[in-house]
């Protein structure tokens, strides 16, 4: 089976700062992969490059066998690569269901018709069915995240990029959202790429983690391997100190969110 997404030597500079440096990886269809890294590691920039919101200085992206560099964001969505935003950006002044209808109107899926029915079905699936007719301003942060996912899912993506879907959520909201993501992955065979800066939410969700720091990929592996990886520990705790074991202990606590 060939890779759904192939990234090769992707580089993006902002003035003197290299936000993404020679990043290469591939995603197999049906995988859930996580991108881990501290704030400023270049994760969101990487998403913006993949989704056409920014143009890389160097490198190649192939999605479903076709190159993506220089393709407009809306066209990328219509090829089946959808994304959510870290800061949820709903259409203010519209109802919840109208927000999802906009996704149903994407050229990729518009011909299917029944936009409102499809939008309401999707809201039921993500657990917002009872709030469909509220104004979007009335939703909580966790519900806005679900709305973002619903709006992207109606475009029937092959690959869904989630930018810190758990950021700013309370503990009680995280587990249901993780369950929703797992359920979507299981029932649709959807390929998912998630950004997080805390490993804790990843442990149950993701089989493979790509760790980034200062724009570079520093490690790839299962969540358990990544927690113990010296370069990941260094990225989170910093260099120095003498007792590696003690620092690893702290690191495990930090990434598990108990510290």
């Amino acid at each position: 089976m060939s890779a759904l997404l192939e990234v090769e030597g992707l580089t993006k500079r902002f003035g003197g700062l290299t936000a993404v440096k020679h990043v290469s990886f591939a995603l197999e269809p049906g995988e859930i992969t996580g991108i881990l890294g501290p704030n400023g590691a270049g994760k969101t920039t990487l998403f913006n490059l993949l989704t056409g919101f920014m143009r890389p200085d160097r490198g190649a992206i192939a999605f479903d066998g076709a190159p993506l560099i220089g393709v407009a964001p809306h066209r990328i969505v219509n090829r089946g690569l959808a994304r959510t935003f870290q800061l949820t950006r709903p259409f203010i002044g519209m109802t919840v269901v109208e927000n999802v209808i906009v996704g149903c109107l994407a050229p990729r899926v518009r011909a299917e018709g029944h936009t409102e029915v499809r939008a309401r079905d999707m809201l039921d699936r993500v657990g917002l069915g009872s709030k469909a007719d509220l104004m979007v301003d009335a939703l909580s942060y966790g519900d806005l995240r679900r709305l973002e996912i619903a709006r992207e899912l109606v475009t029937r993506p092959k690959l869904l990029l989630l930018d810190e879907p758990f950021a700013g959520l309370g503990t009680s909201e995280i587990e249901p959202l993780a369950a929703l993501i797992r359920e979507l992955h299981k029932s649709e065979g959807l390929t998912i790429l998630i950004i997080e800066h805390r490993l804790r939410e990843f442990m149950q969700l993701v089989r493979r983690v790509i760790a980034m720091d200062f724009g570079e990929i520093i490690a790839t592996g299962t969540p358990n391997e990544i927690v113990r990886h010296p370069r990941v520990v260094e990225a989170y705790i910093g260099r120095g100190g003498d007792d590696l074991e003690a620092r690893l202990g702290v690191a495990t606590e930090v990434v598990r969110g108990t510290a």
Binding site: A82, F85, P107, R151
Partner: protein
């Protein structure tokens, strides 16, 4: 901004009632009143066409007079300089206004920031200056005079303008309620999210501006045909600003509110004549009070409340009847 939702039976009945009121007005009003009302209906067409683009997408157009002026001058030239029948002026005015909308819209609507608003503003100013500089063809400050009237009587001109307004509102409201309108309102909400939902926002913004320009140009030709005169004041910044104020007072994004805003403000201007030199003071004061205390506008929000009240009464009535 409020969402205006879909069209109900009550809305349609109210619209028919307003049209009927406007239709009987010439039977009771004087020649002078009918004249003022014809101009007010032209303003209403301009205001609704502004609201369609800027009210729905949130990209403010500070030079709507560009489309009105080019439309009016196109109609004027065809009639005065080329001797064509006034009927030709209407489609030609719409087409020329659309061409201008493409010249300004294609380069500036893809950019974030105030470029579109500024380009529209300066476009109108440039055309105003050009119409004065090339005075040999445009008549300079005096403009083009002596257009041959399409309709002989003043009352029939009024009815023609009213019919044009009704068609404009129906067409624009129909689009605003369709999936197109949903996308335009989503663009107002957040352009990046629109792109993330797979929508080509530039296409929709430019198309909305073209539709807006077509109706504004048509309205300009209508005005030229009624006044039988076209002048550089049709490109004036004051006209553009007046139209924006009318839409704000009417209620942005509702389309029909703009009609109410136009009629209300033209009526207000006329009603304040007795204040003579203090007229502008009073007019401005009233506007400031409205924009300050009722920022969502007057007409459309008032109608939404009234509609709720009517529905409440209706429900009460049926409950009583069934009890």
């Amino acid at each position: 901004m409020l969402a205006w939702g879909s069209l109900s039976k009550t809305d349609v009945i109210a619209a028919i009632a307003v049209i009927a009121l406007l239709a009987v007005a010439p039977l009771v009003g004087s020649r002078y009143i009918v004249g003022i009302m014809t101009v007010a209906l032209c303003y209403a067409i301009w205001a609704t066409s502004w609201d369609f683009m800027s009210g729905l997408t949130g990209r403010e157009n500070f030079g709507h007079a560009l489309f009105i002026g080019t439309g009016a001058y196109t109609a004027g030239f065809l009639n005065v300089s080329f001797g064509l029948s006034p009927c030709w002026g209407f489609p030609a005015a719409a087409i020329v206004a659309v061409l201008f909308s493409l010249v300004i819209g294609i380069p500036t609507l893809r950019l974030r920031g105030p470029y579109f608003a500024l380009a529209m503003l300066s476009g109108a100013v440039v055309m105003q200056k050009l119409s004065i500089i090339f005075s040999e063809t445009t008549g300079g400050q005096d403009g083009l005079n002596g257009l041959s009237p399409m309709l002989r009587s003043q009352v029939s001109a009024y009815y023609f303008t009213l019919a044009a307004l009704v068609v404009t509102v129906i067409v624009l409201k129909f689009i605003a309620l369709s999936p197109w309108g949903t996308i335009l309102r989503a663009i107002r909400g957040d352009e990046a999210t629109c792109q993330a939902a797979g929508i080509n926002v530039n296409f929709y913004k430019i198309s909305a501006l073209m539709i807006s320009a077509a109706f504004a140009g048509f309205g300009g030709a209508l005005y030229a045909n009624y006044q039988l005169q076209v002048g550089p004041d049709l490109f004036d910044v004051a006209l553009s600003i007046n139209i924006i104020i009318m839409v704000y007072v009417g209620g942005m994004g509702s389309i029909y509110g703009a009609v109410g805003g136009a009629l209300l403000l033209i009526g207000l201007t006329e009603g304040l004549r007795s204040f003579s030199e203090y007229r502008l003071w009073v007019y401005t004061l009233i506007l400031i009070l409205i924009l300050f205390f009722i920022p969502n506008g007057v007409i459309a929000p008032a109608w939404v409340r009234l509609r709720e009240w009517i529905k409440g009464r209706g429900a009460l009535f049926t409950r009583r009847a069934s009890a």
